[in-house]
């Protein structure tokens, strides 16, 4: 009996310290974007943590309601950052999702999408392409993009503004090796992790980043073997087994490179999280930890590693004379502590005006799978972000996470606010 229960809570047990750290003060209620909409105790970190304690104590079980409450979290980490005891409840929630998947299994259609489709990059690409043919028929074409197929399917029924699939994917546009142009000295050689979004929807952004790095003396390798980062699979759905396969694929794809650059905050954070959640052997632990050190967000890489001078950041034609505000993706600010670098880049760009929005690091409510399960709640959280953007009077809201960008595009359109959404690298010529 003892042994089975150990197995039943295998992942939660690994984060027992976080689980017991909560002293139930309830301060997280003030910071939790979900609680701020629902005002119900099971929305917030304290409530979820106590629910998981209840499970371990045998008072609760793996029910539908239990899974529901676990999923109702954006993993934005605002609770942990502001917790007097620094209890990392999102860790416990991810672990509990994994144990729940082991105990309950994944439900259709997520089992197909997560277990079968996302790990097969080429096939996934074809399915996305196939889906894009229908996009024009069923939905008005809008700007922006879709992040995961599951999201696309779900959004079909809910009227979300979905961006278009690109006519050519990034992997079809660029070679594996991208060398600096003639006359530019090669200072460094890095890998580029393209992420599903940049690959399938924003290949121009990927191309632009590779060109920018080339011009600044960086040789860029784009391994064809790389796949999805796995965030929706192991962080969102708690499918650690599939997540591990995806992690192994990506770690192997970037072997021998000093840096792995990503333009997506969620991907960056997920790639670094392999070691924390997916390392089941000593070997994997070592490999994942080493990999995590190599992974860099694009703005972090430009500012801290490449140390480009301010003059390297020249505005692209369409942003000249515009007012720009920055939205901190949760995965960049609280998960990775990167807040100064993107601001430094934006402020270096001449001919634009930078405006800081209130609560710039508040979650936009996207959170991948979360916004599929709880689109209405996700919209309510986003509306607060829209109000913050509006208060700045900015023409452009900039971020560094395609997930956030989809959410911002959808929410701004819904609120009829004529503000353009851009990736930070799109500001730069």
């Amino acid at each position: 009996m003892a042994k089975t229960s150990q197995k039943r809570y295998e992942q939660i047990k690994r984060f027992e310290n976080d689980l017991s750290q909560c002293m139930k003060c309830g301060f997280c209620t003030f910071w939790c974007p979900v609680y701020q909409e629902e005002h119900i105790e099971s929305s917030v970190a304290r409530g979820k943590n106590m629910m998981i304690r209840g499970l371990l104590a045998g008072e609760l079980d793996y029910t539908k309601e239990y899974a529901e409450r676990l999923n109702q979290c954006t993993l934005c980490m605002a609770c942990t950052t502001n917790c007097p005891a620094k209890a990392n409840i999102p860790n416990v929630i991810v672990a509990a999702r994994a144990d729940a998947v082991k105990a309950r299994g994944l439900k259709f259609p997520y089992n197909i999408v997560y277990r079968w489709l996302l790990p097969r990059r080429r096939l996934f690409g074809w399915v996305v392409r196939f889906a894009s043919w229908f996009q024009g028929i069923f939905l008005p074409r809008t700007e922006g993009s879709i992040r995961h197929l599951s999201m696309f399917l779900s959004a079909l029924g809910k009227g979300r503004n979905i961006p278009q699939i690109a006519p050519r994917f990034l992997r079809q546009m660029v070679p594996v090796v991208n060398k600096p142009p003639k006359g530019v000295e090669t200072k460094m050689r890095v890998g580029y992790f393209s992420g599903c979004m940049t690959d399938f929807v924003l290949p121009e952004l990927g191309k632009h980043i590779i060109d920018f790095l080339n011009r600044n003396g960086v040789e860029v390798i784009v391994p064809k073997e790389q796949g999805c980062c796995g965030a929706p699979v192991f962080l969102g759905a708690g499918d650690f087994d599939t997540g591990r396969k995806m992690a192994d694929t990506n770690v192997k794809a970037f072997e021998g490179l000093d840096y792995v650059i990503s333009d997506c905050a969620t991907c960056t954070s997920a790639l670094k999280d392999y070691a924390k959640f997916l390392a089941d052997t000593r070997q994997r632990k070592r490999a994942y930890a080493k990999f995590a050190e190599k992974v860099k967000d694009i703005s972090e890489f430009l500012v801290d590693v490449l140390k480009l001078p301010p003059s390297a950041y020249q505005p692209s034609a369409e942003v000249k004379g515009k007012k720009v505000t920055w939205h901190d993706p949760c995965h960049l600010s609280r998960h990775l502590g990167i807040t100064a670098q993107p601001r430094q880049i934006i402020k270096s760009i001449p001919d634009i005006e930078y405006l800081e929005m209130p609560n710039a690091d508040r979650c936009c409510g996207m959170a991948g799978t979360f916004s599929i399960y709880y689109y209405d709640l996700s919209k309510q959280i986003a509306d607060k972000k829209v109000a913050a953007i509006k208060s700045t009077g900015a023409d452009i809201v900039v971020s560094s996470c395609p997930g956030c960008e989809i959410q911002l595009i959808d929410s701004l359109l819904r609120n009829k606010l004529p503000v353009k959404v851009m990736h930070i690298m799109e500001l730069i010529k």
Binding site: S20, Q21, M23, K24, C25, G26, F27, C28, T29, F30, W31, H39, I40, E41, S42, G47, M50, M51, G54, E59, L60, T63, E65, Y66, E68, R69, N82, P84, A85, K86
Partner: protein, 463 residues
């Protein structure tokens, strides 16, 4: 177990979504901010109007179902634990600020407004509501009334009860009663409002609150002083108060917390120092300047090893942040931390601190303490582990000794947290038996079926 028909009637009153019955949701309303108390309710209701509250109570009264009123559940007395099951009536969805009147210096709010949201709204208009329980990020205004909460500011500005001008209360039988008004002066009969302020949800459900406000003090200054000897720190507090200055806050931190602060934010604090005082003066710029000078003088004369004055608001904010971080460090220091809330007369503070030292030595438990020294309110904390039964029981006995020591110096059982479940076993010793009996009789008049937060404040067998 609750009858099915009661739940279906609750659904009729509130709609399906505002009645929670899943085990997962009930579990989430089984605890509060205390360490060990927990009990599952049978149902949780989230009303949005006073009429709903009235109908809920009427239904509960007719069926003799216990009702535990609850705000955000941040209290640390066991007060919002549904110890007898039944209904948890949660006010977090009644969260509108109804009125802020700058001329009258009053505000009217629903009970579920979070104190920090209220403070932010007031600050935008240059207004100030002093009671500042340190759970302000989570706690609801209704909860602070029911608990008559206090905090650091109370040394100068008083506790919650000094600010309540009017209440709307739903009685156990569902009657919606109005008390007080919006005027600062009101001499109409008994002070019935005070009966409900601090009633811990045992007499009625508070559904609307009118509060007195102050203009935001235009200036403030924060000072920090370090002492070699704990009792000397306590004496310095008494000296300041006796000198005719009333600082806005005087907080006391012991060596344990001081060391944690220095670890987290190295600022050259002498880690061998036994006590640290954080003091704030506020008011008009000229008055603040003069008071700060006087306070620094007294601190030095009282034997402070080092006195620092924050050079600007940013540095002052850093000192105060450090104080709350230190408080958190105390809670992270052991598996279980038993923290209490005794208050002693200010001139007995040094003597009380000595007694705590003796208790620590005799029982072998490490006792850390910090608190609102300016009003004699300390939070001694014993580090223990609830899973070690024998040790935990000894820790609870040691806490009993701390209560005894405070009472013997003319102190009280609870400065600002309330009695709830946590301290009821000491109540008999702390209250005149006739007064206690009167309290129980009042409860009997207002709530003859004992449906409102039953099992709280006094021990059951007396009922």
């Amino acid at each position: 177990m609750l009858e099915k028909k009661v739940i279906s009637q609750l659904r009729k009153i509130l709609g399906k979504d505002a009645v929670l019955t899943s085990k997962e949701d009930l579990n989430a309303y089984s605890y509060d901010g205390t360490t060990t108390w927990a009990h599952m309710p049978d149902v949780v209701v989230l009303p949005t109007t006073v009429e709903q509250v009235s109908q809920i109570l009427k239904l509960a009264d007719e069926n003799k179902v216990p009702v535990t009123p609850r705000g955000a559940g941040t209290n640390v007395s066991g007060g919002s634990i549904p110890i007898k099951g039944g209904i948890v009536l949660c006010t977090t969805k009644m969260n509108k600020i109804l009125d802020i009147n700058k001329t009258n210096l009053t505000a009217t709010v629903e009970p579920g407004v979070v104190l920090q949201d209220f403070n932010i709204a007031l600050a935008k208009q240059g207004l100030f509501y002093p009671p500042d329980p340190q759970s302000f990020l989570g706690c609801t205004v209704g909860g602070t009334i029911a608990e008559n909460a206090g905090g650091p500011y109370c040394v100068k500005y008083g506790v919650t009860k000094q600010y309540v001008l009017g209440l709307e209360v739903v009685l156990a039988n569902g009657y919606i009663m109005k008390l007080g008004g919006v005027t600062v002066k009101n001499r109409t009969g008994y002070e019935l409002m005070m009966l409900f302020t601090g009633s811990e949800g045992t007499l009625g459900v508070i559904t609307k609150i009118t509060l007195r406000l102050l203009p935001m003090p235009p200036a403030q200054k924060t000072m920090m002083a370090v002492f070699d000897d704990m009792a000397a720190g306590g004496q310095a507090v008494s000296n300041i108060m006796a000198s005719g200055v009333v600082p806005a806050k005087i907080e006391f931190v012991d060596n344990f917390v001081l060391c944690r602060i220095e670890e987290m934010m190295p600022m050259g604090l002498p880690v061998e120092a036994q006590a640290l005082l954080l003091i704030m003066a506020d008011g008009s710029p000229a008055a603040v300047e003069a008071e700060a000078k006087q306070i620094v003088d007294i601190l030095k004369k009282s034997g402070a090893k080092e006195v620092k004055v924050a050079k600007d608001d940013a540095e002052a904010a850093k000192y105060w942040k450090m104080r709350s971080a230190g408080f958190a460090a105390t809670f992270g220091a052991a598996k279980t931390v038993l923290a209490e809330d005794v208050a002693v007369p200010r001139d007995k503070l040094a003597e009380f601190i000595d007694k705590l030292g003796e208790i620590s030595e005799r029982t072998g438990f490490f006792i850390s303490y910090l608190g609102h020294a300016g009003d004699g309110n300390l939070h001694p904390a014993i580090f223990t582990d609830v899973s070690k039964k024998e040790e935990f029981e000894r820790a609870q006995a040691a806490m009993g000794e701390i209560f005894e020591a405070a009472l013997s110096l003319g102190g009280v059982l609870s400065g600002e947290h309330g009695i709830g479940l946590e301290k009821q076993r000491f109540l008999k010793k702390a209250m005149d038996p006739v007064a206690l009996n009167l309290m129980i009789k009042i409860k009997g008049i207002l709530d003859p079926n004992h449906i409102l937060n039953p099992g709280k404040i006094w021990e059951e067998e007396r009922v």
